[in-house]
């Protein structure tokens, strides 16, 4: 039987330089549970080292973690990649690592902490995660699809780092699976503003960088169970699975 799952498919951890240190895996999962989220995607900027710890923190609990990443393309577009397994995400990470340059400056950009499921610091990432890869957006979309993932341009309504701010419009040849509308605009306004993008499914997420923001914008999705494959079916509108936009 299908039921509605409450999804927040864009949440950062303390590995992202712009996120607060309190966003460590254990605290993040506790807050997501308190907010009655069923499925969350953990998506740091060009990084993924905290995803296994978030999954460990969520083990045995009533919440599903989708391994994800928010990649910065060479055009400086923020693109979400969502995967069915951690190994697919790690594969993407190995590619991103070869195409991301520079070292982080903690004083200017913030700390990038790898923290385990018990809240202990495992290490600090010193890559310039706030920077852009030299991978063009179309190439990254192909890589994501090659790994069986979903490619979703983030916060398309924002004036910075969005596919529309950087590239002006979405070309018909683009193979995005869905588009994310930021919580500032919201689903309803997004559909009005972007009527020309009717062919794409929309999702809305919190893009939380702070604990207090987790679950502040969510997408209800009709699924049989809380898995990536089910979300995939909903994105493609298959077998009755669907994104319930009107309930956003």
């Amino acid at each position: 039987m299908l039921k509605i799952y409450n999804c927040d498919l864009h949440i950062h951890t303390c590995l992202s330089p712009c996120a607060e240190l309190d966003m460590h895996p254990k605290a993040l999962v506790e807050r997501a549970l308190a907010r009655h989220l069923d499925i969350i995607a953990v998506s740091d900027h060009n990084a993924s080292a905290n995803v296994p710890y978030v999954m460990a923190a969520a083990a045995g609990k009533n919440i599903r973690i989708i391994p994800a990443m928010e990649i910065t393309t060479s055009e400086e577009v923020h693109l979400l990649a969502l995967f069915g397994s951690l190994s697919d995400l790690l594969e993407l990470q190995s590619i991103v690592d070869r195409h991301l340059f520079g070292e982080n400056d903690e004083d200017r950009f913030g700390v990038q902490a790898v923290v385990n499921e018990r809240g202990e610091v495992e290490g600090l990432n010193n890559q310039l995660l706030i920077g852009a890869t030299d991978l063009p957006i179309d190439a990254i979309v192909d890589i994501i699809h090659g790994l069986g993932g979903l490619a979703v341009p983030a916060h398309i309504d924002r004036e910075s780092f969005s596919v529309l701010s950087q590239l002006g419009f979405i070309d018909e040849s683009s193979h995005f699976d869905a588009l994310e509308i930021s919580k500032r605009m919201g689903m309803r306004e997004g559909r009005i503003r972007y009527a020309e993008l009717a062919r794409y499914p929309f999702v809305t997420s919190s893009d939380a960088h702070f604990l207090k923001d987790i679950g502040t914008s969510t997408t209800p999705i009709l699924l049989k169970e809380a898995t990536f494959e089910e979300i995939r079916m909903a994105v493609f509108g298959q077998n009755g699975r669907q994104i319930l936009e009107k309930q956003c």
């Binding site: 055009e75 063009p136 179309d138 004036e159 529309l164 701010s165 950087q166 002006g168 419009f169 040849s173």
Partner: protein, 113 residues
């Protein structure tokens, strides 16, 4: 002044759209955010950018720009060249960074007035 003359004066490499090099250049705009260029560039302008994504061709076509000059010797994506050839949009490449290239083109365009 047309694009061909600007290209010759600054030693630019012509990548495509040779048949449109005679277009008159009425001004210029420098920017990498396509939303910004769509809002501010005007018909007949030469567009100076680091952006190589294929959408630059559509923006140049939509705004009826005279052509595109890529800075820092960057290579246009293959799809970008194919689209530009089809749309007859000249794409040229300069070794210079945007600041210097913009200044030189500005001088070329205003020296006659």
């Amino acid at each position: 002044m047309n694009i061909e003359a600007i290209g010759a004066a600054l030693g630019l490499e012509v990548k495509c759209g040779r048949e449109s090099l005679g277009k008159n250049v009425t001004g210029g705009y420098t920017g990498d955010l396509l939303s910004d260029v769509m809002g501010n560039a005007k018909e007949g302008y030469i567009w100076i950018t680091r952006q190589v994504h294929q959408n630059i061709v559509a923006v140049a076509s939509l705004k009826e720009l005279a052509g595109i000059i890529l800075i820092n010797a960057c290579e246009p994506a293959r799809e970008t060249l194919e689209k530009a050839e089809a749309e007859k949009i000249p794409i040229l490449v300069s070794d210079l960074p945007a600041f210097e290239l913009s200044g030189r083109i500005y001088n070329l365009l205003t020296s006659g007035s």
